[in-house]
Symmetry: C2
Subunit: 320 residues, 2 copies
C-alpha cells in the first residue's frame, strides 16, 4: 500500500530567510519550485516501477479514462492523461460517451472496467453533464480502482486515523505535498494556511499537511481577516480560483507558497488572447517568499504525475 512519503526535511528551512515588517532586508527572490521538473522525476521513477512490475509479475498498469460529452477542456485533460500513460508504459484505456448518455450507460462502462483485470485505475473525467449524479458515479467506482481518491470511503479513510489508509489520495493535494517534500520544506510544527475548502483540493491538502504535523488553518470566503491569517503562515496553499488574489503584503517573509489556481485572464499580447495565472500574484510574492510554485509549471504537472503514481500503486497492490 503506497501512501504519500514522509520524507525527513533536509536543507531548506521554511522561514529561514525573514525580514521584519518594519525594516528593509535585502534578499534575493524566492527559489522556484519547479513542478515540471519534479513531475518529470516522479514520472521517471514510475517508469522504473512499471518495468519492475512487468518483469516480476507480468503486470502492466492499466488506467481507464471515461469521458462523457465533448467539453474542450475535458478533452484536453484526457488527452494529456493518455499521453502521460503511454509515456510511462501504462496500458491506456478510454471510453467516450456522448453528452446525452444516460447514467445507466456510464455505470455499465464503470462496471466493465471494474471487472477488467487489465484495468487498475478508473478515472471519470469531471465535470459530468447535469443529468448525471456525480456522487453516485464516483462511489460506483470500486474503491480498489479509485485512482482519483474521490470515493467516499477514501475520503473517510483520509480524514480519520485508522488501520486502513485510502487506496489513493486525490492527485492535486497529493501533488502539493510531494512538491513540498521534494523541495526540502519542513512541514512538522509549521503553520500552514490553506485558502479554499473544496472537496478536491482544500480539504484533502489540509488533512495531508496536518497528518505531517503542520498546524493547519483552512480559510475561505467567510474568513474575517484573510490577509492577517495568510500572513501567519510558514506554508501557504492557495486554492480559491481567483486570479492573483494573494499579494505580497499578505505573505510572511520566507514563507513557502504553493499556488493551485489556474485562471485565464485576458492578454492581448498572447497568441490565444489570454494567459494563465495562479491565485497568487507571482511577480510580487516571489520577492517575499522563500520558495514558490509558478503557474503554469507548478502544481499542474504534479496532478498527472500523482495520477500515474496512484495507478501504479493500485497495480502493485493487485499482485500483493
Amino acid at each position: 500500500m503506497h501512501t504519500f512519503s514522509r520524507r525527513i526535511p533536509s536543507v531548506v528551512q521554511a522561514g529561514s530567510c525573514r525580514a521584519s515588517f518594519h525594516t528593509t532586508v535585502s534578499r534575493s527572490s524566492a527559489k522556484l519550485i519547479d513542478g515540471k521538473a519534479i513531475g518529470a522525476t516522479i514520472q521517471a521513477e514510475i517508469k522504473v516501477g512499471v518495468e519492475k512490475l512487468k518483469a516480476e509479475h507480468g503486470v502492466v498498469p492499466g488506467l481507464a479514462v471515461v469521458l462523457v460529452g465533448a467539453r474542450k477542456d475535458s478533452q484536453a485533460y484526457v488527452g494529456m492523461k493518455k499521453k502521460a500513460c503511454k509515456k510511462a508504459g501504462f496500458l491506456s484505456l478510454e471510453t467516450t460517451l456522448p453528452e446525452d448518455a444516460s447514467q445507466e450507460e456510464l455505470v455499465k462502462v464503470i462496471d466493465a472496467y471494474g471487472a477488467d483485470p487489465k484495468c487498475h485505475g478508473i478515472l471519470v473525467q469531471l465535470p459530468l453533464p447535469d443529468h448525471i449524479d456525480e456522487e453516485f458515479v464516483l462511489d460506483r467506482i470500486s474503491v480498489e480502482k479509485d485512482v482519483d481518491g474521490f470515493h467516499t470511503l477514501n475520503v473517510g479513510r483520509l480524514h480519520k486515523k485508522g488501520k486502513t489508509p485510502p487506496t489513493s489520495i486525490a492527485c492535486t493535494p497529493f501533488g502539493c505535498v510531494e512538491l513540498l517534500q521534494r523541495s526540502g520544506v519542513e512541514i512538522a510544527g509549521k503553520n500552514a494556511v490553506v485558502v479554499g475548502r473544496s472537496n478536491i483540493v482544500g480539504m484533502p491538502v489540509a488533512r495531508l499537511l496536518q497528518d505531517l504535523n503542520a498546524t493547519v488553518t483552512v480559510c475561505h470566503s467567510r474568513t474575517a481577516d484573510l490577509p492577517a491569517m495568510v500572513k501567519q503562515a510558514d506554508i501557504v496553499v492557495a486554492a480559491i480560483g481567483r486570479a492573483e488574489m494573494i499579494v505580497a503584503e499578505w505573505i510572511k517573509p520566507g514563507a513557502v507558497v504553493i499556488d493551485v489556481g489556474i485562471n485565464a485572464v485576458d492578454d492581448a499580447s498572447a497568441k490565444k488572447g489570454y494567459k494563465l495565472v495562479g491565485d497568487v500574484a507571482f511577480d510580487q510574492v516571489k520577492e517575499v517568499a522563500s520558495q514558490i510554485t509558478p503557474v503554469p509549471g507548478g502544481v499542474g504537472p504534479m496532478t498527472i504525475a500523482m495520477l500515474l503514481q496512484n495507478t501504479l500503486s493500485r497495480a502493485q497492490a493487485s499482485v500483493e
Copy 2:
C-alpha cells in the same frame, strides 16, 4: 434527514466583551454554558418527537448497545445510555459479551441488530478488547444504523460537501456545536481553534465548525506555539485529555470556551479520592472568557442527548 441545526445567532456575540491585553477592564466572569440544562431541553424535545413518531407511524425508536467485556467505565456509560433511552421512551436493547468473545460472535450480534426492524441505532461501546479489530467492527454496522457516526462512509460524508450528508454525526462534536448554537454564539466568520485532532472529537468538530463558516485551526502536540494560537480564537474547543492544560493567559478576552476533556485528578477531600476536571483551568479561564462549559456538566450530558437525537433521526428516516 436530520443534520445539525444551523440556527441564526441571536443575543450574545462572541467577543463582544473584550479587554485589551494591556489595560484592565472590569468585567464579570463568564456565562456558564450549562450542558446539563441544554441536554435536558434536547431530551424533552426528543420525547415530543418520539411521541409524534409513535402516534403517526406506530414506530418506537430502538437503540441497541453492545458491550464486550466488563470494564467499569464502559459499564457505567452503557448504564447511562440505557437509562436515558428509557426516559426518552425508546426501546432499549442490550447485548453484553464476555471479554474473550470472538470477533465473529460480535459481528453476529451486530448483524442481528442490523436485521431487526425494531432497532434503529447500533452502538458498540468502545474501547473493544485488543483481539478485536475496531475499524472492521464499526464499519460492519449498517450505515443506516450508525448512530455514533464512526462508520467510514459517514466520516467521508462529513468531510466532503456532497449530496448525501452523514446519517449521523459523532455525538460529542455534534453536542459541542449544539452547545454553541443554543447559547447564541456566532460561529460564521469567527476564528475557532480546536486543540486535539482525534477521530472522535477534534477532527469532526473542526469540520462542523468550518461547515458553519468559522475559520478553523486544528492544534496538536506538534503545534509550535500553542498559547499564541489559542489566544487568537473567538471559539476554543479543548479536546486533548490533559487536566487543566489551557490557562487564562492563553485565552482571548471574551472568547467562548468548550471543554471536552474529562480528567480524573487526585483530591483527598473528595469521597472517591479524586475529582473530574476538564482540559481547561476553569476557575481562572472563566474570568477571561465570555462563555464557558463546566466539567462535569458541560459537554458530557450533550453526548448522550445527541446519541438519542441520532437514534430518533434514524427512526424517523426509517418511515420516510
